[in-house]
Symmetry: C2
Subunit: 80 residues, 2 copies
């Protein structure tokens, strides 16, 4: 059993109003030194078997088609 | 300038219907070998200065009060 983590973030050129709202809230709440916040998603995928090459390419295909919208989002995956 | 990543996940004992829906969709879409999926949030916080101890404890305080709900969520942070 292995865990693969898929991180999905908006592409850098896509505006992130949610992140901007958080950055604004940080300032109002007195957290200084924050330049920018971007919010994304984190998926923890537990596999039945090992995280071998076949399983990882399956998770990558899953990320491309189900977890991320490749028009506006980038994703990365790593085994944990 | 440094980037601190805050990962926020539901505590293990809290049900995650969103993750369950994704796991169900994986199966229907033909992705085999997925045992469980849990969905959380990922925040990328860009700091004005370095990610020294003071800045990290500030981000930790921010995560506790603004980014995560400590009643139902756990968070972890790391410098990227």
């Amino acid at each position: 059993m292995a865990r693969v983590v898929v991180d999905v973030m908006l592409k850098p050129e896509i505006l992130d109003p949610q992140g901007q709202a958080i950055a604004g809230a940080c300032e109002r709440l007195g957290f200084s030194g924050v330049r920018e916040v971007r919010q994304g998603k984190r998926f923890e995928v537990e596999l039945e078997g090992e995280a071998d090459d076949a399983a990882l390419s399956e998770v990558r295909r899953m990320a491309e088609t189900l977890l991320a919208n490749p028009v506006i989002e980038d994703f990365s995956l790593h085994v944990e």
